[in-house]
């Protein structure tokens, strides 16, 4: 069977239509829709994304802190200012991200609550107030001030460690009980210990050295010319050895008590933290007339942080 020209041409049109229509139909439908509804089904659109807060915040200022005195058996509030800058604007600063702490080698780090925002100094900088409590047993010396902050956009945490301050030395104590007694004594008797010791020395400051005792000769209240010299007494922080190897006291002299230490610490924690005990002994009661001997005429004894 031979095909004529018209048949070839018709076949060509059919094939061309099969190839073109799938691509052209959308346009036709679109054209028809656009013509009928008056609206385009799609169109090219310019999209622009404005990314904000890409820059990290900066802690540009931490106010100087003057030397701080500890408070006896309490805490001292230490307050200071922090300024946080963000090139993306102050509104990008995460105001709940500003914290501070004080640190010193060998000491418990003291943390702030969240630093409170005070105000915006300008469009890019906010001012914060920080408060940290320093306790009475915290060590004296230089403490480092560490501040951190972050922003909403970048989220990275930034730090400032450029500031420090001096926490002063506080020597403070409370001693108890309010009376020390001995049983009745006989001349020549030995190893007579106080019957209501120890003297408990509560360290209410941050001193951490030895403890001294200034003893005074005990003078007779009836006959002051008779006395019991201070060097008849020994004292120690060990009840078992106070008579045999306790420190011999010296009249009117600040005498370090061997082995003692002020043990600075949190008295509320118990377990001996912040405390030291002193025990007393008369290794040999001297041969003195019977009468009352006291410090009434010579002056009191003194427990001393030297």
């Amino acid at each position: 069977m031979r095909l004529n020209k018209f048949q070839y041409f018709f076949g060509f049109l059919v094939l061309a239509s099969m190839l073109i229509l799938p691509f052209a139909s959308a346009g036709i439908v679109e054209f028809l829709q656009k013509t009928i509804t008056g609206r385009a089904t799609s169109q090219f659109t310019n999209v622009s994304l404005n990314v904000v807060g890409a820059n990290p915040a900066q802690i540009i200022y931490v106010s100087p802190i003057s030397a701080v005195n500890p408070t006896e058996l309490g805490y001292t509030n230490v307050s200071f200012e922090v300024r946080v800058y963000d090139p993306d604007g102050a509104s990008d600063i995460n105001i709940s991200s500003v914290y501070a702490n004080f640190s010193k080698s060998g000491e418990t780090t003291r943390l702030s609550q969240m630093c409170a925002k005070d105000s915006d100094l300008n469009d890019y900088t906010s001012n914060f107030s920080c408060l940290i409590q320093m306790w009475y047993w915290d060590g004296s010396g230089v403490w480092n001030v560490n501040v951190q902050a972050s922003d909403i956009g970048n989220k990275s945490i930034v730090y400032n460690t450029t500031t420090n301050f001096t926490y002063n030395l506080l020597k403070a104590m409370v001693i108890s009980p309010n009376a020390l007694t001995w049983p009745s004594l006989y001349t020549g008797s030995t190893d007579e210990k106080s019957n209501n010791d120890p003297t408990i020395i509560n360290n209410t400051g941050n001193y951490n050295g030895t403890i001294n005792l200034i003893a005074i000769d005990l003078l007779g209240e009836t006959t002051p010319s008779s006395m019991i010299p201070a060097n008849n007494f020994t004292t120690s922080n060990n009840d078992g050895t106070v008579c045999s190897s306790g420190t011999v006291l010296v009249n009117g002299t600040s005498t370090p008590i061997s082995g003692t230490v002020a043990n600075r610490g949190n008295l509320s924690a118990g377990g001996g933290a912040g405390q030291e005990n002193l025990y007393y002994c008369i290794p040999l009661v001297p041969n003195v007339p019977s009468q009352t001997y006291s410090t009434q005429l010579g002056g009191s004894w003194t427990v001393l942080y030297p």
Binding site: T71, K171, S184, T187, Q291, V303
Partner: protein
Amino acid sequence: MNRNIIISGIALILLIGFVSAFGVSSPYWDGNPLFIERGTTKIVEINLQNMVGNEDVKVKADLVEGLDIASLSNNVYDVRAQTSNVIVPLKISIPAKANVGDVKRVKVDFRTIGPNNEGMISMGTGMSVAFDVNITEKQKGASDYIIPIAIVLVITLLIVIFVIVSRKKR
């Protein structure tokens, strides 16, 4: 009999007839010395506290070391209970002729003065404040340069006036 005398009177009632509590805070201590320029004076503020209990205490201050450079204006201080703001001003004065590099030591003893209880042996508390004083060279401040600069300016001004007057005469 005499050997068996009861030293009843000894009683050794080591009484602390009051709650002996107080504290002393200092900005300088052993290991944290004061650096001071020769020819200058500084007031070191020592802080007395009595934050424990309800008893007022009387504290005696004695300057025991550094009498050549330090002085106290008062020797007895009343520290009321629940206070921490009593200041003891310790004046440190370094002579202008003092040697740079010299280290002086200052020590102040603070002791409670207790009530004199009949038949009792009182026991008090005490703290010492002791620190080194390092003498340094006096730093020249801006005010030290004012007079030399003024002299130079005056001389320069006189020269300029002299030159101007000389040219006019020609």
